[in-house]
């Protein structure tokens, strides 16, 4: 398999100069002394794993794949990737549960058709207790709600026809979260893009981006989806369209991890994969689109930098875009992990660590006194909403609320 080959020769653990800086910034190490930390679990242990790939460490399962170690490393060691690959090879953990949480595209349609029943089922104490005892999905963690109509179904039924006649197009990578849990975000994205003069397309056969599978060590399953996605993206790029996600984790995994962890060569299309706020800000900055906002808009929000936004380095686009909104008061929270890390926080063995990490962020949010948090990441949203009962918005949702669509459409002389 490709990732087995890569690990022995091409990852860059030997660049580590043992400075220990990464250990200062690992959120897991801070709350869990059983975790060896990025330096030891990553480049240090890699030397031994090269000798004997069977040498593995049960404690690797604690790694959040947050990549904050990589952001801090002055030597550019791909610590998170090294750990993710090692973790996949060792495979501890609850595989039925991990597969379930990582999802499968074929199940989505079925799930949507029974969504109301499923939602109320998942809210039942007895069901949550069953999942806790038998599947090790923590009962204290509410499951994300399923939408009764998938985004992709809505798009094909109600929006596709309106996409005709635009001069310019983008392809939207909605991801499983928008598709199954929160189609509103996708609808808002389409509405904004249309207003600034862009038509929206979907990929013919979008698969899960694979972040959940990679984080759970299910690399082979992730690889299948990834290959099909890269093929599909190639087709969009060949037809002159960028592929835009609203989820930073989808963007990160398709740009970086397909290559670094799964060994799939995406170098020809990588830079055509972007994030909604980055795409919009860039057009605005170049004067290619205009945005008009409601005159009476007012909100005070705190912005939380999600780990994968930090790794992408794209926080500045989301915040620059938000700063265009008159009447928006934006408080920057110090950048730190919320503890959720995708489905990590759902796993029973992680729940307490997840909340201990999050508590430090919650404290900072409390200090700001806001009642709304803005963040790009969907799982940070679940975590902060569940733990603090605050409203958490994606920047796109906030923009959709603040934009004067009529004026914006006029300014961009739509269609």
């Amino acid at each position: 398999m490709k990732y087995h080959k890569r690990v022995s020769s091409e990852n860059n653990f030997e660049q580590c100069i043992k400075c220990t800086i990464c250990t200062v910034y690992c959120p897991m190490l801070e709350v869990n002394p059983l975790y060896p930390g990025p330096k030891q679990a990553g480049p240090d242990a890699e030397r031994y794993r090269l000798k004997d790939p069977q040498i593995c460490d049960e404690a690797l399962k604690y790694c959040l794949n947050c990549k904050r170690c990589e952001v801090s490393c002055p030597s550019g060691v791909r610590i998170g990737d090294i750990i993710a690959i090692a973790k996949a090879k060792s495979r501890h953990g609850h595989s039925v549960r991990d597969r379930l949480l990582s999802g499968s595209d074929s199940m989505d349609g079925v799930v949507a058709s029974v969504a109301p029943a499923l939602n109320s089922l998942l809210e039942k104490k007895s069901v949550r207790r069953f999942m806790d005892r038998c599947l090790a999905i923590d009962e204290r963690r509410p499951m994300p709600k399923y939408a009764s109509e998938r985004f992709s179904s809505w798009f094909r039924k109600s929006a596709q026809r309106e996409q005709e006649g635009f001069g310019k197009y983008v392809t939207y990578f909605h991801g499983s979260y928008v598709n199954c849990n929160y189609p509103e975000l996708g609808k808002e994205f389409v509405r904004i893009l249309n207003a600034v003069g862009y038509g929206v397309r979907l990929m013919d056969d979008e698969r899960y981006c694979g972040i959940a599978k990679i984080s759970s060590g299910l690399l082979r399953q992730a690889e299948r989806d990834a290959e099909r996605n890269v093929e599909a993206i190639r087709k969009e790029v060949a037809e002159g369209r960028r592929v835009i996600a609203t989820s930073p984790s989808c963007a990160l995994v398709m740009r970086e991890e397909y290559q670094h962890i799964l060994g799939i060569d995406n170098s020809d299309v990588k830079n055509y994969i972007s994030l909604s706020t980055r795409f919009l800000y860039r057009l605005w900055e170049r004067g290619e689109i205009k945005l008009a906002f409601k005159e009476d808009y007012h909100r005070k929000v705190a912005y939380h930098s999600a780990c994968h936004m930090e790794k992408l380095g794209w926080v500045l686009y989301s915040t620059a875009l938000l700063r265009l909104v008159p009447g928006l008061e934006l408080v920057m929270l110090p950048s730190q992990c919320c503890g959720m890390a995708g489905f990590y926080g759902y796993k029973k063995e992680n729940y307490d660590f997840s909340q201990a990490i999050g508590e430090k962020l919650f404290e900072r949010i409390r200090q700001t006194g806001v009642d709304t948090v803005v963040t790009d990441c969907e799982t940070c949203k679940w975590q902060i909403e569940m733990s603090m009962g605050l409203e958490v918005m994606n920047p796109i949702t906030l923009l959709a609320e603040a934009i004067d669509f009529e004026k914006t459409r006029d300014l961009n002389q739509n269609k």
């Binding site: 250990t23 975790y35 330096k39 952001v71 550019g76 830079n271 930090e310 790794k311 380095g313």
Partner: protein, 419 residues
């Protein structure tokens, strides 16, 4: 993305330049590939390891030293200004340019220093140690601090030293993980009851002592932690001594300076590496490309190179030569590889002085010609040996402030001309 100034590198040099420019109201961004050498700060910003007289003769004894570009007058002014800058960011430095003091090294030696973080022990003169009764407290299981070495060093100068070890239940937990029994891991525990318990234990041992020394393991985020501890410790005077490996006050300095920069409106872009640049038609640098932002370029009027030395990859040693990897600037370095290193590890090491060649206004040279809207500051510069001369932070701070002032001055002139 467009800024007035962009700084490459977010170590001490990049942050000091950035704060100065942001304070003057400039739209400025710092792009930094990783955290910096600040994490290993000994507690002192070193200016010169010997005395001031030697600095006065520097233009003759070390003609290519960066201090000669800055000049002593400015060096003195910048030393004052940086003290104020640190204070606003939440850190107190003691000492000044006129009157150096001694700092303690992790193995018990004394070295001259000008500016030291307040919590660290300093001595006005070596004779101050005569007859001092010093208690040095180690922490059970913590191996990056050497009380015995310190005791023997101070003992040689006439102090009466006693070494004790204390243990705390909060630290027992850390022993499960090799990575955490480090200064930073301990500092995370030093709050609430643990801090009180430690103060109580140490106070019990401090009977008859007039100075208590502990490892620097207090306060990752602010100075208050140590102050609180010191208040609980009265009446003995209590101070910290440096540890080896990542330093707690260093982590704090990185954090507080970064926060100050952001508070002043600066844009901090972390975990991203500048890989190339583009020129405009007149040959000025127009923009930079980074790994994360790929096809989106960073444009600015002025750029500062604060990428540090070999540690942060501001300089890279290939199998043939030493290069500055972003711009391919002219580098001062010995040609033959055998001449890069000295034979004795603690002796003179030629590579320490390798670095980028600059003109009198800190513009680096490329192909022998200064690059006009680029400035080089900090340990990427040629000419200084931070270890032998003990001038690491001094060179960084003074060149960082000078470059920022040059930019402000040039901008002022440009504005006047256009009026």
């Amino acid at each position: 993305m467009r800024y007035e100034a962009i700084i490459i590198g977010g170590g001490l040099g990049g942050l000091v330049s950035g704060i100065r420019l942001a304070q003057a109201g400039r739209r400025v961004a710092i792009i930094s590939a990783g955290k910096s050498a600040l994490h290993f700060c000994s507690g002192s910003l070193e200016l010169w390891s010997k005395w001031r007289e030697e600095l006065l003769g520097l233009s003759e004894s070390h003609p290519s030293h960066p201090y000669n570009i800055v000049g002593l007058e400015r060096l003195e002014r910048y030393t004052k200004e940086v003290k104020e800058m640190f204070r606003r960011a939440g850190m107190s430095l003691v000492g000044d340019f006129e009157k150096p003091h001694y700092r303690l090294t992790p193995i018990g030696g004394l070295k001259p220093a000008w500016l030291t973080l307040e919590e660290y022990v300093t001595f006005g003169a070596k004779s101050d140690l005569e007859g001092r009764r010093v208690l040095i407290v180690g922490l059970e299981g913590y191996l990056d601090f050497y009380p015995e070495f310190i005791a023997s060093g101070l003992g040689r100068l006439g102090a009466e030293c006693r070494v004790e070890k204390v243990s705390l239940p909060e630290l027992e937990r850390l022993r499960e993980s090799a990575a955490e029994m480090r200064a930073v891991g301990i500092a995370r525990q030093m709050q609430g009851e643990a801090l009180e318990r430690l103060a109580e234990k140490v106070s019990g041992l401090a009977e008859g002592c007039d100075l208590v020394l502990l490892p620097a393991v207090f306060g990752l985020a602010d100075e208050e932690c140590f102050r609180r501890f010191a208040r609980m410790m009265k009446p003995a005077e209590v101070r910290v001594a440096p540890t080896v490996s990542a330093s707690v006050p260093g982590v704090r300095a990185q954090r507080l300076l970064s926060e100050e920069f952001v508070r002043l409106g600066g844009q901090l872009i972390q975990g991203d590496r500048v890989v190339s640049y583009q020129l405009d038609r007149s040959g000025r640098i127009e923009s930079l490309s980074t790994i994360n932002h790929a096809d989106i370029l960073f444009r600015a009027d002025d750029f500062i190179l604060a990428t540090g030395s070999f540690f942060g990859r501001g300089l890279v040693a290939t199998s043939e030569n030493i290069v500055e990897p972003i711009f391919g600037l002219d580098v001062v370095a010995a040609e033959a590889r055998e001449e890069w290193c000295g034979e004795k590890i603690l002796g003179e090491q030629p590579f320490q002085r390798f670095g980028v060649r600059v003109d009198g206004r800190l513009h680096p040279l490329k192909g022998g010609r200064p690059v006009e809207n680029l400035y080089a500051v900090g340990s990427v510069l040629a000419g200084a040996d931070a270890v032998k001369e003990g001038c690491g932070a001094g060179v960084v701070i003074s060149t960082a402030l000078m470059a920022a002032d040059e930019i402000l001055e040039q901008n002022g002139k440009r504005k006047e001309e256009s009026l």
